[in-house]
Amino acid sequence: MLKTLHERQGMQLLFGLLMGIVFGFLLQKGGATQYDIIIGQLLLTDFTVVKIMLSAVVVGKIGVHLFRGLGMAQLHPKSGSIGSTVIGGLIFGVGFGILGYCPGTMVGAVGQGSLDALFGGIVGMLIGAGIFSEMYPKLERNILNKGYFGELTWPQLLKKNHWAVIIPVAIGIAALLFVIDRFAS
C-alpha cells in the first residue's frame, strides 16, 4: 500500500511541499532561521541549534528503525569517503561559519524576511553548486573516492544489532543535552 503511494509522482510532489511547510514552520518557531541563533551556536554561546538537532535525531531514529523493523520503511544511508565526507564537510563548515545559515535554515530565513539570506546566501549557494558541477569530473577522479567506505552504518561497522547502538546513543544524547542545559545556557 505504501509502495504504490511512493510511486505516485504528483502526490509525492505535494507531500514534499506539505512536509517542507511543516519543517520550515518548526525551524522558524525554534529560532533556527535566525542568524543570531546560528552564529551563537558556532560561537558556543547559544545551544538552541544543537538541542533541536539532537532531539530530532533521538526521536527520528527510534521511529524510523521501528518502522523499518515492521517492514514499513527503508533506510537510505548516504555513502561516504574521507575525500568526500571529511574534506567536503570542512569546506561546508567554513562556508557555514562565514554565512551564518545552513542551506535549509537559509531558505527559512528568506521566508521571515532576511535579505542577506536571499541575495547573499541563496545566490552564493547556487553559484557554489554550479562551480561544483564544473569541478565534479576532476574531483571524482582524484579526490572524492579516496578512503571510500560506502553506505556503512554504525551497527554494520560494530557488527551489533541496531538497537544495541540506538539505545546507548539515545542515552548518551540525553545525558549530553542535560549537561548542556545545566551548564552551558
Binding site: 511512493h6 507531500f15 511541499l17 517542507g20 511547510i21 511543516v22 519543517f23 520550515g24 514552520f25 518557531k29 529560532g31 532561521t33 543570531d36 552564529i39 558556532l42 560561537l43 538541542k51 538537532m53 532531539s55 535525531v57 526521536v59 531514529k61 521511529g63 524510523v64 518502522f67 527503508q74 533506510l75 561516504g80 565526507t85 571529511v86 567536503g88 564537510g89 570542512l90 569546506i91 563548515g93 562556508g95 557555514f96 561559519g97 562565514i98 542551506p103 535549509g104 535554515t105 527559512g108 528568506v110 521566508g111 521571515q112 524576511g113 542577506d116 541575495f119 552564493g124 549557494m125 553559484i127 557554489g128 553548486a129 554550479g130 561544483f132 558541477s133 569530473p137 556503512l152 554504525w154
Partner: protein, 172 residues
C-alpha cells in the same frame, strides 16, 4: 491556538516535531529530509537556460537531473512554512543586517551582502562535495546511524566553529 502565534517554541518541542516529521517522510514518501541537492538542481536549471542541452550532458547533472523533485518541493515548503510562522507571530520583517553581525561588524548592508555571498558560495561547494548538508547529513543521516553522516556533521561543526571564532574573536 495561542501556540501558533508564539514567537518561540522550546528547542526540544521543535526537535521532537522534526523527529516525528522524519517518520512521516520515510513512511509516506520513502525519503529523508534534505535541502542541498535542490540547489544543485536549481543551479542546473539556470545553467540550462544559457547553455541548453550541454548542461544536461554534464556528468554531475546526469546524477542529479536539473528538474523538480520531492526534495525541491520540500525546500519551497520550508520557505512557505517559515513565512507562515514568522507572519503569525508578527516577526516577518525585511532585514539586511542581522543584529549580532551589526554589533560586531557594523550595519552596512553591502559588507554583510558580500560576506554572505562568499559564505554561501563556499557552503554550496562544500555541501555538494560532502554529499549533503546539516539536514541531509546532520539530521536524516545521523538518525539512520550512517557513518558518513556522523563524520560529516562533526566536520561541519569543526569548520563552522573555527571560522565563526576566527571572525568574531580574532578579526573583529
Amino acid at each position: 491556538m495561542e501556540w501558533l502565534i508564539m514567537e518561540r517554541w522550546s528547542p526540544y518541542v521543535v526537535g521532537f516535531g522534526i523527529g516525528l516529521l522524519s517518520w512521516v517522510t520515510f513512511l509516506l514518501s520513502d525519503k529523508a529530509i534534505g535541502c542541498s541537492t535542490a540547489f544543485s538542481r536549481t543551479s542546473g536549471m539556470i545553467e540550462r537556460l544559457f547553455r541548453g542541452a550541454r548542461t544536461e550532458a554534464k556528468p554531475y547533472y546526469k546524477k542529479f537531473a536539473p528538474s523538480v523533485d520531492w526534495e525541491w518541493m520540500l525546500v519551497v515548503g520550508v520557505f512557505i512554512g517559515a513565512f507562515l510562522s514568522a507572519e503569525l507571530s508578527g516577526q516577518f520583517q525585511g532585514q539586511w543586517v542581522p543584529t549580532k553581525w551589526a554589533e560586531t561588524f557594523g550595519n552596512t548592508p553591502f559588507t554583510r551582502w558580500i560576506v554572505a555571498l562568499i559564505g554561501g558560495t563556499i557552503m554550496g561547494i562544500g555541501a555538494r562535495w560532502a554529499g549533503g548538508c546539516t539536514s541531509g547529513h546532520g539530521i536524516s543521516g545521523t538518525l539512520q546511524l550512517a557513518v558518513s553522516s556522523w563524520l560529516a556533521v562533526i566536520c561541519f561543526f569543526i569548520g563552522g566553529v573555527a571560522t565563526a571564532m576566527l571572525m568574531y574573536n580574532v578579526l573583529s
